[in-house]
């Protein structure tokens, strides 16, 4: 890849709880900082970093507010819409994204519980409002731009997605970066804690899933794995066990970006919705 674009491989320590992990990661981030400075010709200053951290924390706090609205018995916004919003944060500038997000939150806060007008799109078979629909958590692999296949299937077949436990969902904003520490240390500490399945042990993720399931009053979890993202495939077992013990049904789906399995997934989702309602 380095033949085509400037590439730097950031080495992640995979045992984030070991005492040397943050130190090693900090060292890596500093090296990366040097590479970026050389590449762009700009010097990274402490002050600039602090400002960016404050700005990103603002985005995170807005996302907390957006997700808070989804805890309502009748969420004012569909999961597919939130996923599309989340995908935009990787394309828009921080300022544009925050502006759009503020407008969206203002609008969503106005939606009355009984005015979920998107219900018209659902199949005649499922005339229920969001309030009567099984509340679904999607947990697992990220869903970058263009990838809304599984969420669309879920929401077209009678479910409402209330939270996504993934790197394009909660994991992207769940913890703020400490604004009072040395910025590089604060960044290292925040990002090493992300419970990606490539980390070990990763009990943090299981605890977080159970916590989110309670907070968002989740009826069922769709464990979503992209083919060849094997970490999540392996961790699926632990996630299933933990949720089963908590009495929360799980549907595991392994898929890719193609549309070839839409009907097969649809059948599983139909059956899962029938099971939950």
């Amino acid at each position: 890849m380095g033949d085509y674009v400037p590439t730097y491989v950031l080495d992640l320590p995979q045992k984030p709880d070991s005492p040397a992990a943050v130190k090693y990661f900090l060292d890596e981030l500093n090296k990366f900082k040097g590479v970026m400075e050389q590449l762009t010709g700009n010097k990274v200053t402490v002050e600039q970093l602090k400002n960016e951290i404050i700005s990103s924390n603002e985005t995170r706090k807005l996302l907390y507010r957006l997700y808070d609205l989804r805890k309502k018995d009748s969420p004012p916004i569909s999961g597919v819409d939130v996923i599309k919003v989340m995908q935009k944060q990787y394309v828009l500038s921080a300022e544009d994204f925050k502006k759009a997000l503020r407008n969206l939150i203002d609008e969503a806060e106005q939606v009355k519980a009984d005015k979920a007008d998107y219900k018209a799109d659902y199949k005649a078979d499922y005339k229920a409002d969001f309030i009567h629909m099984p509340r679904i958590m999607i947990s697992g692999c990220p869903m970058p731009g263009g990838n809304t296949k599984v969420p669309e299937i879920i929401e077209n077949r009678g479910g409402v997605i209330v939270v996504e436990e993934s790197c394009t969902g909660t994991r992207s904003f769940w913890d703020l970066v400490d604004e009072n520490k040395d910025p590089m240390i604060a960044l290292a500490e925040r990002y090493i804690k992300i419970p990606c399945s490539c980390m070990t042990p990763n009990d943090r993720r299981i605890d977080n899933i159970l916590e989110l399931a309670g907070e968002f009053k989740v009826d069922g979890v769709v464990n979503y794995t992209l083919q060849f993202c094997h970490g999540y495939n392996i961790e699926r077992y632990k996630v299933q066990q933990a949720l089963k013990n908590a009495g929360i049904p799980v549907l595991s789906i392994e898929t890719d970006y193609s549309d070839s399995d839409v009907e097969q997934i649809g059948l599983r989702v139909d059956a899962f919705m029938e099971m939950l309602s």
Binding site: P249, D261, L267, R268, D270, A271, E274, M275
Partner: protein
């Protein structure tokens, strides 16, 4: 109350007519390309068989891959719920179902007639009727004979490919090495049984398990599955129609 359940499967379309909660008659036809006419045909067949007029039918309920294309049905339900209701009606004590159909296999965990968990094969044909259909062709054996042939084997050949296409070429190489037909047939069925057993263990089915779907009609497969799982399986007299039966019963429960 007269209710008809139609199961539009990948290989065959099934209809079951239920009057006051009791199954009266059924019909099975190949699905073919035109799933809607196959559904119409089985529907009309069960009506004429039971001498019932269309206007007296309370409801028509569809399940199977074509369930949403059967426009004359009042409601659609997934095969997983349908099979569960159908099997529960026949065997109220059952708490697990193995359904092997034309293009997929399903393992369902049941509690008091309700689905509590389920697992399906991934999108490939491994562990399905299609697998047997293809590999039987390589053996030049009619699919109906495959099970019986396998039972005659004393030393099943080992088939390691899960993939239908690779298994077929594995059969061809076993054939070239002089393996007996019955041993290859037994090897094929053993490989399906192993595949299904893995899923059964994942869902955690232990006893009171029913085996349904078109593949359950193949005598040998039941024997091999029972051996692999170490339990005896309930197989209804007509295992292919539990989905249609369940759809009819589901309709009644919802109306």
């Amino acid at each position: 109350m007269i209710s008809v359940g139609i199961d539009s499967g990948s290989a065959t379309t099934k209809a079951v007519l239920v009057i006051d909660g009791q199954m009266v008659t059924h019909n099975i036809r190949p699905t073919g390309f035109d799933i809607l006419s196959a559904a119409k045909n089985v529907y009309e067949d069960v009506l004429s068989d039971a001498e019932i007029d269309k206007k007296d039918v309370t409801g028509i309920y569809a399940t199977g891959y074509g369930r949403n294309s059967i426009k004359f049905a009042d409601r659609a339900v997934s095969e997983i719920t349908a099979h569960t209701m159908g099997v529960h009606h026949l065997y109220p004590a059952v708490n697990g179902i193995i359904d092997i159909g034309g293009q997929d296999s399903k393992i369902i965990s049941v509690n008091d007639g309700k689905v509590t968990d389920f697992l399906m094969n991934e999108k490939c044909a491994a562990g399905t009727g299609k697998f047997l259909e293809y590999t039987a062709k390589a053996l030049e054996v009619p699919i109906e004979e495959l099970g019986r042939l396998a039972l005659a084997s004393k030393k099943p050949a080992s088939i390691t490919s899960m993939c239908t296409v690779f298994a077929e070429s594995e059969v061809i190489s076993l054939r070239a090495r002089g393996f007996k037909k019955e041993d290859i047939a037994a090897g094929l069925i053993e490989s399906i049984a192993r595949r299904v057993a893995v899923m059964v263990r994942q869902v955690g089915l232990k006893q009171n398990v029913a085996f349904v779907g078109g593949v359950a009609k193949n005598a040998g497969i039941k024997v091999f599955l029972e051996k692999e799982l170490g339990v005896s399986l309930y197989v209804p007299p007509e295992p292919q129609i539990t989905g249609a039966l369940g759809a009819a019963l589901y309709g009644i429960s919802k109306s």
